[in-house]
Amino acid sequence: MAVEEKPEELVTPGEVLGRAAELRAGKGAYVAAHNGLVYASLTGRARTVPPSPDSPDQRPMVEVIGLKAHGAVPEPGSIVIARVTKVMARLASVDIMCVGPKSVREKFTGTIRQQDVRATEIDKVDMHSSFRPGDTVRALVLSLGDARAYYLSTAKNDLGVVSAESAAGATMIPISWTEMQCPLTGQIEQRKVAKIGS
């Protein structure tokens, strides 16, 4: 049976896209409970996505693709780039700047707890030897956290400090899993270093 290709339509909020019995509402669409119709909730192109063959619900999904993208929001399991703002005895506060490859529109706060800094000997972690304010850190989002901040983790080889400034003001070079050296003064400072790349 040939599926006819309909050109994608430009729709505005409130326009009818179909019946709830025949279509599933995806992003940019919603089902009105009182009459069982699927309406658009955004302005954009209405696209019908055919159902995957193994899903129990064989209705195609209709979504409306708008042109304005909302800023990125951290989700559990995503990798974020953050800047350390405060280092305390049992946690470090960070400002999340990028989620994956996209930068965020408004800043989010994150927390790296002492037990999430590394994978081994987690009770012997010294926060001041792992992070300093101003460091750029690559971390994994563990959960949405509490009302104030996301919970992040650097307990992997490719997570941790990616860039830091020494006391002299130069960008330090990583020399081991736990040390970074200043190219100007030769001074070695302790950090939880991330090993990026193979």
Partner: protein, 241 residues
């Protein structure tokens, strides 16, 4: 005073069922997430929408839906005589509440829990029907910000002077002291979300006047949809889609 001449013309030369000229633009405030200017005759209103963003006052945060805030203000230069304070007075507070409730009813707030949507509307030129122009401008600004809505909300006013229902009153007709019915509807759903009236009307006349206002709202909705589609086509063209 005669508001409708024997030939059937109003003070500004319109027919009783004629609306003022409409004009709208989107994306006028670069820093806002969505913005629009809406002009109805001589009444000009600018709306800016910020959101969804993090709630600034944690005590007001709602865990299951977005918080919608609205502020209506009038620029000092919007009326004939320069105004001292354009917000904080009773009328502005009331209109802020009315616009907030109207827009909150149509935004799908449950999709954005723990966040805040701010709608700022400012009247740049006031010539009657500022409340209606504000709601229309807010609808366009919310659509520009890509905030999911049930439907567009459009609004129009109608009055009854010299025994004639009049559509879209201007300032002089509004100040005449006759009834002024403001209606806000969800055009595709055919539902009324806002209904306000000043003064008094017998019930059957009220029915006529309200139906006239609803027709006006539907005409505004047709225009707003055209503006939205045109704006989207422009954006696609600039993007090279």
């Amino acid at each position: 005073m005669e508001y409708v001449s024997p030939e059937g013309l109003r003070i500004d030369g319109r027919r009783p069922m004629e609306m003022r000229k409409l004009h709208a633009e989107m994306g006028v405030v670069a820093k806002a997430d969505g913005s629009a200017v809406f002009v109805m005759g001589n009444t000009k209103v600018i709306a800016a929408v910020y959101g969804p963003r993090e709630v600034q006052n944690r005590s007001q945060q709602m865990s299951d839906q977005a918080l919608v805030r609205c502020e209506y203000s009038m620029a000092n230069f919007s009326t004939g005589d320069r105004m001292r304070k354009g917000k904080g007075d009773r009328r502005s507070t009331e209109i802020s509440l009315v616009v907030r409730q109207t827009m909150e009813a149509c935004i799908l707030t449950h999709l954005m829990p723990r966040s805040q949507i701010d709608i700022y509307v400012q009247v740049l030129q006031a010539d009657g029907g500022t409340r209606c122009a504000c709601i229309n401008a807010a609808t366009l600004a919310l659509a520009d910000a890509a905030i999911p809505m049930r439907d567009l909300v459009t609004s129009c006013s109608a009055g009854y002077l010299n025994s004639t229902p009049l559509l879209d009153l201007n300032y002089v007709e509004d100040s005449a002291g006759g009834p002024d019915v403001t209606v806000g509807i969800l055009p595709k759903m055919d539902k009324v979300t806002l209904l306000q009236m000043d003064s008094k009307l017998p019930i059957d006349t009220f029915d006529n006047v309200m139906q006239l206002a609803i027709e006006g709202c539907k005409a505004v909705a047709t225009y707003i949809r055209e503006v939205l589609l045109e704006n989207t086509k422009q954006l696609e063209y600039h993007r090279g889609v």
